[in-house]
Symmetry: C2
Subunit: 378 residues, 2 copies
């Protein structure tokens, strides 16, 4: 069954909305944050912890990484990524476009696609809109992202416009390819196209209109949070949201901090992903209901209070700041796991709270009151 989206509440003073996405692997209550499971594993966290502690409803896989390791043959033989990694809820895969530009070596972009060398062994590969659709089919994503080019920031207007046009032509090829091929494993695989256009309002407008015209089950905004000022990101995001259809979920790719997420929910975004909670967590940066903690700081050495007293039912409830600091100082793997769990659990808590406040209608003032707390360094 094609992915559906219904509204379940609208905020009184912002464009925030609460909704419900239904996929063949189950329901996603929005707004939602999607933990990033790069190579089929959300780093340092078990699938059980993701389900029971983090309460994740959907996770991401990276097409670039999964294509290289374990490879689509293995994933096909497994019956798709859900069977391979034991995650039975929805999975979204990005198209690999972003990783090809940020990780791969010696990439060369043409109308046909992108030739690149693997960052692992230097082997040469070609990604095209068509074969990236085939790869995501075989990975078995519930939500397949269109193959796009994500230009860097800053970039020349002319380059960004040409890149956007290419992304649009690639989108049409993605749509055609998916129409010619079948769902790989019996459940529906839904395409989300991606708005590009850099930090240029007219390009963002044109791209949003083009993307909206394709009538996809959901739409994404890419190419933000790549170095531009936060205010620019919000402006572009607001512009895209004003054009992308209201009755389809909107996904802002690769964003961001807790306050970024709240601000963009206020603009009408429904879905987020970001490596920040896991990557920063592994570096000892904790996001909590009371603010930001650098857990390596000596000040926590004898602070035996819970890591985040505001997350009552967290898997971290039994662990103190002092213990977590000790684990980081002693380079214990458990520290990486606990910090990742803290940050992911907090991110999912935050979007659940946002959802409740949207439904109650007071999301706007709640967000304004909360953000200074979330930003403060403890």
């Amino acid at each position: 069954m094609e992915l559906t989206f219904i509204h379940e509440g609208t905020d009184r003073t912002t464009a925030a909305r609460a909704g419900r996405i239904t996929t063949d692997h189950g329901v996603i209550e929005t707004p939602i944050f999607m933990p990033v499971g790069t190579v089929g594993s959300v780093k340092a966290v078990t699938q059980q912890q993701l389900r029971e502690d983090v309460r994740a409803q959907i996770i991401l896989g990276n097409t670039y990484h999964l294509y290289l390791r374990p490879g689509t043959d293995v994933l096909s033989q497994a019956g798709g990524l859900h069977r391979f990694n034991g995650w039975d809820r929805p999975i979204l895969t990005d198209s690999g476009g972003y990783q090809v530009f940020s990780l791969a070596e010696n990439r060369k972009i043409t109308e046909e696609g992108v030739v690149f060398q693997s960052h692992i062994d230097g082997s040469r590969h070609l990604f095209t809109p068509e074969n990236v659709m085939d790869t995501q089919r075989r990975i078995g994503a519930d939500i397949i992202m269109a193959f796009d080019e994500c230009p860097p920031y800053p970039a020349e207007y002319r380059y960004v416009r040409q890149s956007m046009d290419l992304t649009h032509r690639w989108l049409d090829r993605c749509i055609r390819r998916l129409a010619e091929t079948s769902d790989a494993y019996g459940y529906t695989q839904n395409l989300f196209p991606i708005v590009q256009g850099g930090a240029f309002a007219d390009l963002r407008q044109a791209s949003s209109e083009y993307i909206a015209s394709r009538g996809a089950a959901g739409n994404a905004i890419g190419g933000l949070s790549v170095g531009e000022p936060e205010e620019t990101m919000y402006e572009m995001c607001a512009l895209c949201c004003s054009i992308l259809p209201d009755d389809r979920p909107r996904y802002l790719m690769g964003v961001g901090t807790p306050w970024n997420i709240l601000e963009c929910i206020a603009l009408g975004i429904d879905m987020f992903d970001c490596v920040m909670p896991t990557r920063n967590g592994r570096n000892g940066m904790l996001f909590t209901t009371a603010g930001i903690i650098n857990i390596r700081n000596k000040k926590w050495a004898t602070d035996f209070s819970p890591v985040d007293p505001g997350l009552a039912s967290s898997a971290l409830a039994g662990y103190s700041k002092a213990y977590l600091r000790h684990l980081f100082v002693a380079n214990e793997i458990l520290g990486l796991t606990l910090a990742s769990l803290q940050n992911l659990t907090f991110y999912l808590h935050l979007v659940r709270e946002a959802r409740a406040h949207i439904i109650a209608g007071d999301f706007g003032p709640w967000k304004e009151a909360l953000i200074p707390t979330l930003k403060q360094r403890l």
Copy 2:
């Protein structure tokens, strides 16, 4: 309340016994394997996983490591290691003797104790029987190990005898020190003395007799599994067991493989610890009910069967060999966690099975039939 030990079953054809140790932090059903939590964390495993998946009943802490990091001041302020790491079942701490000899630098041994330099920052420290007792008190162990010297293998008879005599004199100082000091946190802390004597039967006999004469709540055998042939280890172990009192638990330190554990249970050992399940697990070596797996091997790349079908209720039940191999090949932290969970869960499963067969009286033939399976490389 002082630690107690009761027999709950005796095997028909071997010296194996099933028992029940009671401490102020709860009951330990023997024979038992104790996961090693070097610096207050069993590497890559959460305390919840230890309780619910591994079903550990007691864990180890390393005095040497905990003394250096986080240090006894922090542990004292926390109210002991149980409070610090959130593990509310029994904890045993080794005396630091073994680590001082295997890890520390520029160590110098005298009658008084051992001067050494930290392997972390080169700082100088002195361990004496007295201060090691004080440290273990402050760590808050339920079972405190006597301070001993663990000679290498091979070693000269004369050296091993002198070392053993020193260990005995140190034991008497440990006993005196504990008698002069109080339990640190309101629950009873029990001393286990350690038999030494290397691979020399007459020294093992003398040491066992000396240790037995001290009337401790439990007794340990140290200095084995340090490079001697397996048969020598079994011979020394059998000799010690024949002398150490039958009505006290016997703890064989630092042993070993699954078959080592079964063979030594047959000789009358009740307690084991070893870094092997976690350390080898992190290197991709899995112990399973069907034999040993090198999970990095290419042969598992498309083997989608469970990691260990013989462990039905394991936390690993949702993960295939192919997925776990992929995690190792891709250097994912989750691979370290899952491999550690597999090995610890299997070790605890093995001693529970051993216990059931001892109580049923058929442990001897069960062990003989099982060991070839456990040793085979899949």
